[in-house]
């Protein structure tokens, strides 16, 4: 398992040209499948700023790699709103489905093999990734 904070700000390297095409800015998470959609990339040299999980060539401790700068592209229609930055996970408050506030998301831990979210890290609590119900503009909602 790795945490997003471990790779936040790391360069995204193009393996074809051996140049950096951007830096990892934010994780994009799908609450329905509880998996990583991909990463938002800042200072992108590609056509957009979303790097989809499927477009990753490698996810190492010091860099993410892609086979072409084209991989960092415009978000497809289905992810447009989720990738826009208005629904970012980190920093959003966490509510249970019964209306109890648990805190704010500090970090997110995921499986580097398949992008499955294993837990949300709050200031003084962990929330199991499987409890994720929704990530909206107001809050992250978790089961229980």
């Amino acid at each position: 398992m790795i945490r997003f904070s471990d790779i936040s700000g790391n360069p995204v390297m193009d393996t074809a040209t051996a140049t950096a095409v951007g830096k990892v800015q934010a994780p994009i998470v799908d609450p329905v499948t509880q998996r990583m959609v991909g990463f938002r990339v800042k200072k992108s040299k590609g056509p957009g700023d979303l790097l989809l999980w499927e477009g990753l060539a490698g996810l190492g401790p010091d860099a993410l790699t892609v086979d072409s700068a084209e991989r960092v592209a415009e978000a497809p229609a289905e992810w447009k709103r989720r990738a826009s930055g208005k629904l970012d996970l980190i920093g959003r408050i966490v509510l249970t489905e019964n209306g109890h506030k648990l805190g704010k998301v500090r970090d997110v831990e995921f499986d580097p093999k398949d992008g499955r979210i294993t837990s949300l890290l709050l200031r003084d609590a962990f929330v199991d990734g499987e409890r994720l119900l929704g990530i909206g503009s107001y809050a992250v909602v978790v089961r229980g």
Partner: protein
Amino acid sequence: MTVLLKAADLVKRPVVTLAGEGVAQIKDVIYSSQTGELAGFTLNGRGLFSGPMRKTLPWENVHGLGPDAVMIRDESGLADRKALRGETEGAGGSVLGSTVITQSGRNLGVVTDVILAVGEAMTDAVGYEIDPVDLSAPRRQFVPLPDALSVSGEALMLPDAATEFIRDDLAGFGAAVEEFRSRLRQAAVTAEPVTKTEPAPPAEPAVPAEPATKTEPATKTEPASESTATTDKLPVDRPSAGEN
């Protein structure tokens, strides 16, 4: 974990879908005009300057009600205004402003708010905040509610036992409600034996202690005071009824 909160504290609380979208905030609490229970909420839009919304939130569509938000499954949980027509809103309602009177006829005060017990999964109206008639009492008191009560537009009737469980602050009120309700439940269970034993005493001298002497030797060494008491009185009742 159960939290007690005042219904009025729900006002301005956000209404959030399970997808995490804030769709409204609570404008006012609506009580059912028949039962005095929570019927639902009227809503304001979100944001500082947003006005009232056309939609309302019926109680049955509330997924979870917590100290930090009112949760609904999705936006289809909001109903239009007609859903709560006929129910009464906020201060004009049948509950707030009603006089609380005990069954023996003592006026306790006027209801100023409803106390909800919010658990992990369910919410229940457990008491009223009242403005007491008694001027020497604190400005605010909390009276417990029985599991069910009848409400008219004029007054709320509470059992006399409720006066013993009036509290001045919410801290100990949850336990008081529990105790009050368990007392009422016990009273309901023992209500029938009590009414039977009351007519029994005049019959006791008339009937000699024969049934008692029959049972006593059998259970003499046992601490059978309870069992003999009940078995004694039942046979006592029947001959007395026959004599009269």
